[in-house]
């Protein structure tokens, strides 16, 4: 056990009624990294996120974060420890205003209303939602809802942020805005673990990439390497695609 390990997932597995959603996956993430997670649909990416954040309990394996084993922790406990996630299908608190949505996140670290208010406004400006601060979350457009999802998570002052397909449903302009945000978040010192389908985006953002296929980790390395990896190509394009390409 290294003393400077940030997030270390060791041989984690989860199956549902005999179907192996995630099999013996291990990964390591260091503070300040952006780690990308890709894989064909159904590969187990969101399941892995659910396992790490406590929404699901692994059948076996350990999850170590800053020296603590997180297996058995519930999501809110993981949030307190410093891991926050966003959801693939955004879950805004519809009846609450944008500001209140973010405030919920901010209350994670402090009980003081004024502190929370200040912080929430800061985050509103950070993500560019300050004009919509008092609007009910249900009135936000899709890109704004994505921003809100990010903003709420930021409110919790996480050390590690798990982003689940935060770009889905956005046009290129909106996408590049979110990409900028992700860069800003990393610059503020938060490590990021990101699931994304849009290849160009995730290749550009990530320091390293992990590829899941049928719940198994088939590649783990720098974007360029992973791109050329035979197993990865075959996973996406089918057997023989590697040879066809070459």
């Amino acid at each position: 056990m290294e003393s400077n390990s940030f997030l270390q997932v060791i041989n984690i597995s989860k199956s549902f009624r005999g179907l192996n959603a995630v099999s013996n996956v291990s990964l390591k993430l260091n503070s300040g990294d952006i780690l990308g997670l890709i894989g064909p649909n159904g590969a187990g990416k969101t399941t892995l996120f659910n396992l790490i954040t406590g929404f699901l309990r692994p059948d076996s394996g350990t999850i170590e974060f800053l020296g603590r084993n997180l297996v058995g922790f519930e999501p809110h406990q993981n949030c307190k420890v410093g891991i926050t996630r966003t959801f693939q299908i955004v879950k805004p608190f519809s009846h609450l205003s944008t500001l209140e949505n973010i405030a919920v996140g901010c209350y994670n670290r402090t009980n003081d209303v004024r502190e929370v208010e200040e912080k929430a406004w800061e985050i509103l400006r950070f993500v560019g939602l300050e004009k919509k601060a008092l609007y009910p979350a249900s009135s936000l457009t899709t890109p704004d809802r994505k921003r809100l999802e990010l903003a709420r998570a930021l409110g919790t002052a996480p050390k590690l942020l798990l982003l689940d397909e935060v770009m889905a449903g956005l046009n290129p302009t909106e996408e590049s805005q979110i990409i900028d945000l992700v860069h800003k978040i990393r610059e503020s010192g938060i490590a990021i673990f990101i699931i994304e389908h849009h290849m160009r985006v995730i290749m550009g953002l990530s320091d390293r990439i992990i590829v899941l296929h049928h719940g198994v980790c088939i590649a783990d390395g720098e974007p360029r390497t992973v791109c050329e990896d035979r197993n990865v190509i075959e996973a996406y394009l089918g057997k023989g695609a590697y040879f066809a390409k070459n």
């Binding site: 954040t53 929404f55 519930e74 999501p75 809110h76 949030c79 307190k80 926050t84 996630r85 966003t86 959801f87 879950k91 805004p92 608190f93 519809s94 009846h95 609450l96 500001l99 209140e100 405030a103 919920v104 996140g105 209350y107 994670n108 009980n111 209303v113 004024r114 929370v116 208010e117 929430a120 406004w121 300050e130 601060a133 008092l134 609007y135 009910p136 009135s139 709420r152 998570a153 409110g155 919790t156």
Partner: protein, 335 residues
């Protein structure tokens, strides 16, 4: 910048001075009302205040934390019977008995809350579990001679006495219920501005998302349950002292659960004034209907049913929610 300065203090916003003045004047004005009204109208007001208190209790759990209970009569009955039995057998002042009522109500609430919430049994499931428990106690109180069985309990008359919370005149009850109602409104209003209040709403809106943001949904549902049960139980004590008679149907009956919850639902669940508004609409309506359709005792319930259906379909956020929606549209906050 200017806009933000203006908005500073939104989460912890208080009322403007002008609004406090208006509230204060109304409150003071209400104190003079009982001398200007005939006793039957004072009675109606007392009922409005009482059911607002209990509706507020329901509201904390149902409107704010999103756990709709169909059996709040459980707490009402537990409160009423606890203080009454202590009064009858030990001569204990209902003011003190009220604390025991509150305690018993809270304990029951925690038990049921634990059963339901730890497995995430929410929504309609929880609603009916509460109803089932209310029915259990309904059943027990009908059959158990020690608590009067089906005949119920008569509160022994001690004449006018503050200590025993008994008054020949209605006016003292008017003031007691008025002050408690205002107290409950104030309590909810204050809770709204705290972390707990916002967490309740988060749990209501999306329990999973709340969890991901550090909210222990189970814990906050239990807290809401405690406040809710306590408040409603207290209402039960006062009701018993006012009516001087309780029986299983009046206290634990399904209709009582309906009366308690329908007011905040119609008025606006999750708002401070919802239960009051609902009471102001429904109580006079019920009285009026009773007068008009004298021989048909259930007509007001038919109207309750129709209003409930109409509100659920057309105004799901209650009257206040509807009004807020219009204001939002007017202020262009909604497309």
């Amino acid at each position: 910048m200017h806009e933000q300065q203006q908005r500073q203090g939104y989460l912890s916003r208080g009322l403007s001075r002008r609004k406090w003045l208006i509230v204060g004047l109304i409150f003071i004005g209400l104190h003079f009302l009982p001398w200007t009204l005939a006793p039957q109208y004072v009675h109606i007001l007392i009922m409005i205040f009482l059911f607002t208190i209990m509706g507020q209790g329901w509201n904390i759990l149902g409107g704010y934390a999103g756990q709709f209970s169909f059996g709040h009569a459980l707490f009402f009955g537990l409160g009423a019977y606890t203080s009454t039995l202590m009064f009858i057998h030990w001569g204990l002042s209902p003011w003190i008995g009220m604390f025991f009522s509150c305690f018993i109500g809270i304990m029951m609430g925690l038990f049921i809350g634990y059963l339901s919430f730890r497995y995430g049994l929410t929504g309609p499931f929880f609603a009916l579990i509460m109803l089932a428990f209310a029915e259990i106690f309904h059943m027990i109180s009908i059959s158990w001679k020690a608590v009067g069985a089906a005949l119920g309990l008569l509160i022994p008359l001690k004449g006018t006495s503050f200590v025993f919370m008994q008054f020949i005149d209605k006016k003292p009850f008017y003031f007691i219920t008025l002050w408690m109602m205002v107290g409950s409104l104030y309590l909810i209003w204050r809770i709204e501005k705290t972390r707990m209040g916002l967490y309740f709403l988060a749990v209501r809106e999306d329990s999973d998302a709340a969890g991901a943001l550090g909210v222990n949904a189970f814990r906050y549902k239990m807290i809401a349950m405690m406040i809710s049960a306590g408040l409603t139980s207290i209402g039960g004590t006062i009701y018993a002292q006012y009516l001087l008679y309780i029986d299983p149907d009046i206290t634990f009956g399904v209709l009582n659960s309906v009366e308690i919850m329908i007011r905040p639902i119609i008025g606006g669940p999750g708002t401070v004034l919802g239960p009051l508004l609902g009471s102001l609409v429904l109580t006079p309506l019920a009285e009026f209907t009773r007068l008009v359709f004298q021989s048909y005792s259930g007509v007001y319930l038919m109207i309750y049913g129709m209003i409930l259906v109409a509100v659920i379909i057309f105004l799901p956020d209650g009257l206040i929610g509807f009004a807020k929606g219009i204001i939002n549209k007017a202020q262009r906050k909604v497309p």
